[in-house]
């Protein structure tokens, strides 16, 4: 059975949002999304309402007589943030990259544990001397002589090609 049916008042939406707000002691301010609202969005440049709604006497006169500061004041009445302000970048990327690197570093801790508790001993075929002999034997056999391994060895100068 739907939980909202069990709590019958809430299920019938008989408790309005404002009552819930009052119950919270008006800590939570809920927006009525049915009303025109103000937004700072660059893809919606002229919002449905002004930021602040009053106009003083001087601003009801013709605007060409106003000083620059008064014109800016008028702008701030109609708009909250300018385009430059609403589009400003943040330093969020530093937190993102720093946290990502932290977790990549944490992965290294897991590798330390794995090497210690899971891996067995490194086989003797990885010893430095064995690898050196193995390398010469591969070159003597001409392993991948066209584009691969032996192709990178200079048989005349007896050294790896530069």
């Amino acid at each position: 059975m739907l939980a909202t049916r069990v709590f019958s008042l809430i299920g019938k939406r008989a408790i309005s949002t404002s009552v819930c707000v009052r119950a919270h002691g008006s800590v939570v301010k809920s927006e009525d999304f049915a009303l025109p609202s103000y937004v700072d969005r660059r893809d919606y440049p002229l919002p449905d309402v002004a930021h602040v709604k009053s106009l003083s006497a001087s601003q009801k006169a013709p605007w060409s007589s106003l000083s620059i500061e008064e014109k800016v004041e008028l702008y701030r009445i109609k708009f909250n943030e300018s385009f430059a302000e609403m589009n400003r970048g943040t330093n969020e990327w530093k937190t993102v990259v720093g946290a990502a690197m932290f977790f990549i570093g944490f992965t290294a801790l897991l590798l330390i544990w794995e090497k210690h508790y899971v891996y067995g001993p490194v086989p003797h075929t990885f010893d430095e001397e064995w690898v050196a002999k193995q390398t010469k034997r591969m070159l003597d056999m001409k392993v991948s002589p066209i584009q691969g391994f032996s192709a990178k060895w200079d048989y005349d100068k007896n050294e790896w090609k530069k």
Binding site: V72, N91, T95, L111, I112, A132, Q134, K136, W160
Partner: protein, 60 residues
């Protein structure tokens, strides 16, 4: 035109801690990976090309 910013933007979490998070995260990451790569004895099996000097293998 001298524009007055109409409100001082108070620093947010990223302004206050972004640099610290970035620096400490990067330092921790580099340090622990440097340890893993060099000190744990993990065999990375790097290519011998350009690195290993071949050694005679036939019994004399």
């Amino acid at each position: 035109v001298a524009r007055q910013s109409h409100q001082k933007q108070t620093p947010d979490f990223y302004d206050k801690y972004g640099n610290a998070v970035l620096a400490s995260g990067a330092t921790f990451c580099v340090a622990v990976w440097a340890y893993v790569v060099t000190q744990t004895g993990i065999e990375w099996s790097l290519s011998p090309v350009g690195r290993v000097t071949p050694k005679e293998w036939r019994d004399q």
